[in-house]
């Protein structure tokens, strides 16, 4: 929860995506519960029948899955919930939104580094399967920096953007982009999402990586993303210290994003109350996601990446 004193700033692809991890995730592919029309022909086999979709697979129901994708026929037969998975379109769009605000640059292990690793892994899987991959870093940047970076002005809520990567050879472009982002400043999540939604062409899978600690609320942003038809995955990354604070004494807590002060005297009831509030907050996020057909997931930054990818995300149907 505290700002990391010496946060790990990855400089090479090896730091973002280790060779062992590549070995573990190479066989994975991105799947979607929705049917998307691809723009380009993909590598995979396709059986288009007009508007119909190709049924791909079943998987067991997991908490938080959209009830609309439950195969009710199977339920009628077996009295058990199964999710219907559909074959991807050939050209699946994978959009990764990464929170590059200062609040992400906290915790031990560093949350932002974790998010970078997750984004890299997922992006690699996408590239490997010839999906169209885009990454957007969300975070307030002052105009001057943005202007020099992008050559345009007014892009305050977007810290960085890379689009239309396809194929394995773009892996290094993706890695270079991820390495170039530094987490700082605040967020205007709603504004950023609006921009993403407006600039987004085509439909696909969208993965939002953030701690979702947003004072102005995450609801508007997520609603905008869902409204455009994306299959949204919200992965909330928390540091272990945020889950179980190890601070004590009389403290003046300063918000790294907006400089807001909170004077606290750490006590057992206060910690208890904090934990209650945190779990309520996370629950609220998950409830919101469930209502909006978003797959929500809360993960601690000390969870191994391969566990997250191979285990959690596969269970939730993002990968297969």
């Amino acid at each position: 929860m505290l700002r990391s004193e010496n946060p790990t700033r990855p400089a090479t692809i090896e730091e973002l995506l280790s060779s062992e991890l590549i070995g573990k995730i190479s066989h994975l592919d991105v799947s979607s519960r929705k049917i998307f029309a691809g723009k380009l022909k993909g590598e995979r086999r396709s059986k288009k029948r007009g508007e119909s979709v190709e049924f791909a697979d079943h998987r067991p129901y997991a908490m938080g899955d959209d009830l609309r994708h439950i195969d009710w026929n199977i339920y009628a037969r077996l009295d058990r919930f199964f999710m219907k998975l559909f074959m991807e379109e050939e050209d699946l769009s994978l959009h990764i939104v990464i929170d590059a605000s200062a609040s992400a640059d906290c915790g031990e292990p560093n949350k932002f580094y974790y998010m970078q690793q997750v984004a890299m892994s997922l992006g690699y899987i996408g590239l490997l399967n010839l999906n169209r991959v885009a990454v957007t870093a969300v975070g307030m940047r002052d105009e001057l920096v943005m202007a020099s970076l992008k050559g345009e002005s007014g892009e305050q809520s977007i810290a960085g953007n890379i689009r239309d990567l396809r194929g394995r050879r773009r892996t290094h472009d993706l890695a270079r982009f991820l390495c170039s982002i530094t987490p700082e400043g605040g967020t205007d999540f709603g504004q950023a999402c609006k921009r993403i939604a407006m600039s987004r062409r085509g439909k696909g899978v969208m993965i939002v990586l953030s701690d979702f600690f947003m004072k102005e609320g995450y609801e508007t942003g997520l609603r905008l993303l869902v409204g455009r038809g994306y299959d949204v995955f919200a992965i909330q990354v928390l540091s272990p210290q945020e889950v179980d604070p190890d601070i004590s004494g009389d403290l003046q807590l300063r918000d790294v994003e907006d400089g807001d002060m909170a004077e606290v005297t750490i006590s057992a009831p206060l910690l208890k109350k904090y934990k209650e509030n945190l779990s309520a907050y996370c629950q609220e996020l998950r409830d919101f996601c469930a209502r909006r057909e978003i797959t929500g997931l809360t993960i601690q930054s000390d969870t191994p990446i391969d566990t997250l990818l191979v285990d959690y995300l596969r269970k939730r149907g993002l990968l297969r």
């Binding site: 929860m1 505290l2 700002r3 200062a102 609040s103 992400a104 906290c106 915790g107 949350k111 701690d211 600690f213 004072k215 540091s239 945020e242 601070i247 004590s248 004494g249 009389d250 403290l251 003046q252 807590l253 300063r254 918000d255 790294v256 994003e257 807001d260 002060m261 909170a262 004077e263 606290v264 005297t265 750490i266 006590s267 057992a268 009831p269 206060l270 109350k273 904090y274 209650e276 509030n277 945190l278 907050y281």
Partner: protein, 708 residues
């Protein structure tokens, strides 16, 4: 509960408490920390503030704990103490009886106890001392009690002057030694009173103008003394004690009784030896025994002579009589007489044994043993130097004289030349005088009774020759020689007129109308009584007073120091002084105490008088010196030794029942009960302990974040 230094604590509190509060709030500089988001924290704080009662108090728990610690320290600083009375700054006089009766072993309150009364008394006195208001730690306050400790038997001794040093007082009390003497409070009381300052008055000079303070000798002023008597109540001379008015807090005279009221004791109250007049080798030892047991008792009296048991006789004693109205116990007495033949000087010891199985029936050992030093059966040997008088020979031979020699003046001179006169205790010269020797010395060292002549040599009388007939008109009735005489009837047919010159050492014992008739000469080694007139020319020889005079003269001159002693003269009572005469050439005089220790050198007066003591122990005392020996003295290795027996022999002291009340001169004081001594309790160490405890709790809370 009283406070020794409340003002100091209040002062410190006035400074420290505001300082702590201010420092606490100054101290609360929160450590700045950057966190990812204050969102949840703010929410939590709000929730907590909204939900939890006493939030403000909880936040300041540490401050409150610190205030508690500070409060405890401040309370400790005020030195609270719990005492029964609020009075402090008192002057206490602790009178501790150390007399023989305090040796009784019923100090525990039961007859079969192991502790003596003195030990019990010491313990209670120490308890009292511990309960005194002690001086505060920071300042010389006047609130501290001061105490003086006086140990007394018959004599008194200040073992500790007024002090508030408790340990010093306790040491002094513990250092008090038991003695074997009877007890009398008089000296102790006067000693205590003498410590009080004299009353100071403003001398008005008669005209009311003076301002000089004047001390009145003998009238005591100053603070009132609070007397505490630790005793069994068997104390003499209580009527000299005048108790002051009791104050509201404490009685001015408190009596802490030790011992058991019904204590039973059998003890010697009298011990005398007497030699038979006719046959001095016969010795009678009279033993008086007293019992305070209400039941009849039979005790064995054991006579030891020179350490060997000679005889054992049973003494039967009736039960003590208890006065039905007053409850006072009249001790029963009994006695036994031992008869033995003992011509030599011996040490006679009488021991009472109460027999086996009588534990608790005799709580005092000291009065069960008595020692007598009996001198040898020796009587004066007298030589009559006469030219043939009949009266004196007849009169002297009628007296009990072991050895009467009759010699002429020529024989005397021969004997004198031979230097054998030392064997004769008394020379009686009848109408003659020793001749002056070549050096002009008339009397060799010795005792002389000269009838019908006077010494006219240097320092002697002026003889004015024959005088007219006359009568004896005046004599020293108090003198041992003339004590029992009446000389009114003596008529002199022919007198001798003499005059005692100024500056002479001669003393006139009897006078006629013409002048001195009997004179005594007493120089260092010579004692002579001279009857100036010739009794043959008077009616004196026919008067009974003549024989009595001769007997007294033999007794007086013949039994002086160095010749013979009274059989009971060598007895002393503990608490009194040992006083005697030793030969004037005695040097390096020391006293050996019953416990074997030797005293320092005792300096004798020019006439050989020595005083040692007061003595405290029962037993045999031995005076040793180097020099010439008296007739009854033992000589060993060039050292002369003389023995004395010290015995209690005091009926009231042996009557051991502890008294429940004391009759002072102005009122009766009852014994205060055992539990009444309130111990002063100092609370500040506990408060400090509590402060440390709270401090540790605070530390723990601070570290553990266990804010309740």
């Amino acid at each position: 509960m009283t406070w020794a230094t409340p003002m100091l604590a209040a002062l410190v509190a006035a400074i420290a408490i505001p300082s702590l509060v201010i420092l606490y709030f100054l101290k609360l500089r929160r450590v700045p920390r950057e966190v990812s988001s204050t969102l949840l924290w703010k929410k939590s704080i709000q929730d907590l503030q909204a939900n939890a009662p006493f939030q403000k108090l909880r936040r300041n728990l540490l401050l409150f704990l610190q205030l508690i610690i500070l409060g405890l320290i401040l309370l400790a600083l005020a030195q609270p103490r719990s005492t029964a009375s609020s009075a402090a700054g008192r002057k206490l006089v602790l009178l501790i009886d150390r007399s023989a009766s305090m040796r009784a072993v019923d100090g525990d309150g039961s007859s079969a106890g192991e502790r003596t009364r003195l030990e019990a008394a010491k313990e209670r006195a120490i308890g009292l001392v511990e309960g005194l208001a002690s001086p505060s730690l920071f300042e010389e306050s006047e609130d501290a009690d001061e105490a003086m400790v006086i140990a007394f038997d018959r004599s008194a001794e200040i073992v500790s002057q007024f002090t508030s040093d408790k340990q010093g007082l306790i040491n002094a009390i513990n250092g008090i030694e038991q003695t074997d003497g009877p007890s009398s409070i008089e000296e102790a009381y006067r000693l205590a009173q003498s410590q009080r300052p004299n009353r100071v008055v403003i001398d008005s000079g008669g005209d009311g103008t003076g301002t000089d303070p004047v001390e009145l000798e003998g009238i005591k002023g100053g603070d009132a003394y609070f007397f505490h008597l630790f005793s069994d109540g068997k104390v003499g001379e209580l009527d000299v004690v005048r108790a002051d008015e009791d104050t509201a807090d404490a009685p001015s005279f408190e009596y802490h009784a030790v011992g058991e009221a019904g204590a039973v004791n059998v003890g010697l109250t009298a011990l005398r030896a007497e030699r038979d007049y006719e046959d001095p080798t016969k010795l009678s030892v009279f033993v008086g025994v007293q019992s305070t047991d209400v039941n009849p008792r039979s005790v064995d009296a054991e006579l030891r002579v020179g350490g060997r048991v000679v005889s054992v006789r049973a003494v039967n004693l009736d039960g003590a009589v208890v006065e039905s109205q007053t409850g006072e116990k009249e001790a029963s007495t009994g006695g036994v007489v031992f008869e033995l033949v003992e011509p030599n000087g011996v040490m006679v010891e009488v021991r009472l044994s109460t027999g086996f199985g009588d534990a608790g029936m005799d709580v005092l050992e000291t009065d069960n043993v008595g020692t007598l030093i009996v001198p040898p059966a020796k009587q004066a040997s007298v030589a009559l130097v006469t030219t043939g008088s009949l009266f004196l020979r007849e009169a002297l031979s009628g007296l009990s004289i072991s050895d009467l020699q009759i010699m002429s003046p020529a024989q005397y001179e021969e004997m004198r030349d031979a230097g054998e006169t030392g064997a004769i205790d008394l020379f009686v010269f009848d109408g003659t005088m020793p001749k002056a020797s070549e050096g002009g010395v008339v009397f060799d060292p010795g005792r002389y009774l000269v009838i019908g002549d006077v010494y006219t040599g240097p320092g002697g009388v002026v003889d004015q020759g024959e005088g007219p007939g006359t009568q004896i008109i005046n004599w020293r009735r108090g003198h041992p020689l003339l004590r029992d005489l009446t000389l009114d009837a003596v008529v002199l047919g022919k007198s001798r007129t003499i005059e005692i010159p100024d500056g002479s050492e001669l003393v006139s014992l009897a006078e006629t109308t013409e002048g001195p008739a009997i004179v005594e000469m007493s120089t260092g080694d010579v004692r002579a009584v001279m009857v100036a007139f010739d009794p043959a020319f008077s009616n004196w020889p026919f008067d009974v007073s003549f024989v009595v005079f001769l007997a007294s003269a033999v007794d007086y001159l013949g039994t002086q120091v160095g010749t013979d002693v009274d059989v009971n003269a060598r007895q002393i009572t503990p608490g009194f002084v040992l006083a005697d005469r030793v030969p004037s050439d005695a040097e390096n005089i020391r006293v050996r105490l019953p416990d074997g220790t030797m005293s320092g050198e005792v300096i004798a007066a020019p006439d050989g008088r020595i005083v040692y003591g007061p003595i405290h122990q029962r037993g045999v005392y031995r005076v040793e010196w180097i020099g010439s020996a008296g007739a009854s003295d033992l000589v060993e290795d060039g050292k002369v030794m003389r023995f004395y027996g010290a015995n209690l022999l005091d009926g009231p002291e042996s009557d051991l029942g502890s008294a429940a009340s004391l009759g002072l001169s102005n009122r009766v004081v009852s014994a205060s009960s055992q539990g009444e001594i309130t111990r002063l309790k100092e609370w500040w160490p506990w408060l400090l302990l509590g402060a440390i405890g709270v401090m540790m709790l605070e530390w723990w809370i601070y570290n553990k974040k266990v804010y309740l």
